[in-house]
Structures are given as C-alpha cells and as structure tokens.
C-alpha cells in the first residue's frame, strides 16, 4: 500500500486536502483536530520524528490572486453578481514529519485565520516541537495552546511585533533593546 493510500485510510474524514508535488505529499487538516490527527499519524502511520514547525503568511499571495481575478472578470463580463466568499485564512502552520523506520516524509498543513491565532501545541506528542513552536510564535504570533514555555525564541522578550508577517517592514519599526542588568 502506498503512502498516499495509507494516509487516506489513517486520516479518513479529517483529511481536507491531499496534494502531491514532485513526490512530496502534503495534507491539510482542520485546526481543531490537530492533536487527534497528529497522534494518529504518529501511532498508526509511523511518523515518529517531527523535523520542523513553521508558519506561512499568505497576505500578498491572496492580494495578488484577487487582483488577477478582478482583472479577468473585468474584461469578460461584469453584470453577473459574484457571490461573496469569505476570505481564506491568512496564515498556515506547516508540520514536517519524518518516519525514521521507512524514511517517508509528510507535510501537514493547518490553516489559521488572523482573528483566531490559537493552535493546539503538539509538544505533548513530539517533545522536539517546543523550540520550533516558540520560533513560529515569535515570528508569526501563533498562540500554541498547551505549550510549556511559550516565550520568544529569536527576538528579545520586550519585542512586540511578529517580524515575519508580510505587513511588517523589513527594516523594522525602530525597536531597540535597552541595557537592563537584570536580564543581560
């Protein structure tokens, strides 16, 4: 049985989308089912190693797509009223899984809307998720619920923004860390 079929069998109705790009499998799962899906993937599908957890900000991607779609419809017809779809969730959390016994890899994608940044923490399933989740929190602002120590990893504690968000300026907003003998 191929990995694709095994994943389909393992996840059943939790599988929202399954894509394959050049041999890399990517599955999308609902946000509120992350813990169940991950423990199933670990116990039943054998993904016993978590390589990385990181975030994606699709702000510019969706803006560009919307612009393109508007241009296309403008040329052809404009009378037909388009039904309004809710905007797609802005952020994604990606989990890269590896099975050490079969050397198979799997990407798991969770979509996170901007107004609800809470994501269940997978630290209870893989202990190695602690630092990658701290980094994703630092850079994108996901609140990993159940994380034992959700502090910033790369930026200093007093830093307020999340710098890998697309609407954060590259050169920063002039934040500076000041000398504090208690923390240095």
């Amino acid at each position: 049985m191929s990995l694709k079929e095994r994943i389909k069998e393992c996840l059943e109705e939790d599988l929202l989308e399954l894509t394959e790009f050049r041999g890399d499998l990517c599955v999308e799962v609902p946000k509120n089912r992350v813990l169940e899906v991950m423990s199933k993937l670990k116990k039943e599908a054998g993904f016993d190693f978590l390589s990385d957890v990181f975030g994606v900000d699709n702000l510019d991607l969706y803006a560009a797509k919307a612009k393109k779609a508007k241009k296309k419809t403008g040329e052809e017809e404009e009378e037909e009223p388009k039904k309004k779809e809710p905007p797609p969730p802005r952020f994604e959390v990606m989990y890269l899984l590896l099975s050490l016994s079969t050397n198979e890899r799997l990407q798991v994608k969770v979509r996170v809307p901007e107004d609800d940044m809470d994501v269940p923490s997978v630290t209870g399933i893989w202990r190695s998720a602690t630092w990658p989740e701290r980094e994703a929190f630092d850079m994108f602002g996901f609140r990993f619920k159940g994380h034992p120590n959700l502090r910033r990893l790369l930026m200093w504690d007093e830093f307020e923004d999340h710098p890998l968000r697309k609407d954060y300026p590259l050169e920063g907003k002039g934040e500076e860390r000041h000398l504090n003998y208690d923390t240095v």
């Binding site: 920063g172 934040e175 860390r177 000398l179």
Partner: protein, 171 residues
C-alpha cells in the same frame, strides 16, 4: 619614544606621557569579540601565520577586565547590543575599540529589523576596518593604526583636565 641618554652615567631622560604611551602602545591586549565570519579572519590574524603578537597583542584576554582593545569582529544583532555595551563597560581604562568588517561598521548587507546598523552608535569606536570580511592584513593594519593613535595620545593632560574640571565644578 624620544629620550636622551646622559653620557656615561646610565640615565635616560624622557617625558612621562611618552613613557606611558610607550608602555600602552607596546601591549594592546585584545579582547576577541567574534560574532560572525570576521571572527575567523581575526583568529587567522592571531594565529602563527600572521601572528598579531609581533605587535604586542600578545595575550588574548578572554575576560573584559584584563584587556585593552575590544576587537568587535562580526554582526551585532539588536538583541546582542546590551551585551556589547555591558562588556565595554566592564573593560578597565584605558580602552579602545576596533570595528572589524562591514557588519560592525554599518550593518553591512543585513539592513533588517534585527541587525544593529553599525556599533558606532552604541559604543565609541576608534578604528573601522572595511571589508566583508577584511583580510588578516587589514586587521594587522588597523592594530598598527591604533598603536599610532595611542602614541599620539596625551594621557596625563587628559587626567589633569579631568581634575581641573572637577575642581571647578566643586567651587
């Protein structure tokens, strides 16, 4: 150092400032603060091939209390700035700073939210070395320039000025 020898007596005459400068310029002990690839070039400059010890940088001090020259080799992130400030504050007077490489001088290619755009805005810098990274010859040249600067210094005059200012402020 300028000095006069009295014929046949075994005496040397010189100025106190020149004697102090002679001592200071012949033993600028470095504190290696290597944070990036410039640190590798600094190691090379310190090792036997280039041998910075020839110019008196004999003992590499790994404590800020026992060094004279802070050689800041590499990128300084904004998170690192308080550490650099604190280490500079821990150094005993007299102290000098050499900024090695583009990152330490201006931030270099890292014009981003996380990188300090040059350490000159954080601590006083005596010598800037351009390059990404500069070759060990560049670091040696900077050390020689620093030695020239130390020899042209007026330590006692500066101390006297401080005393005068303190007295005038006390009036």
């Amino acid at each position: 150092m300028n000095f006069q020898a009295i014929q046949g007596e075994g005496w040397l005459l010189t100025k106190a400032e020149q004697l102090i400068n002679w001592g200071r310029s012949r033993s600028p002990w470095p504190f290696p603060y290597g944070t990036a690839c410039c640190g590798i070039e600094l190691m090379c400059a310190l090792a036997s091939g280039y041998d910075m010890a020839r110019f008196g940088a004999e003992r590499v001090a790994f404590t800020p209390r026992q060094c004279d020259v802070l050689i800041e080799a590499g990128t300084i992130t904004k998170k690192m700035v308080p550490v650099l400030k604190r280490i500079y504050a821990q150094m005993a007077e007299p102290k000098w700073v050499i900024a090695v490489g583009a990152c330490a001088c201006t931030g270099g290619v890292f014009r981003t939210y996380s990188t300090q755009q040059g350490i000159g805005s954080v601590i006083p810098v005596d010598i800037y070395i351009p390059g990404c990274p500069p070759r060990p010859e560049g670091i040696l040249y900077a050390l020689l320039k620093l030695i020239d600067k130390i020899e042209a210094d007026h330590p006692l005059y500066k101390q006297r000025q401080k005393v005068v200012e303190a007295l005038e402020a006390g009036k």
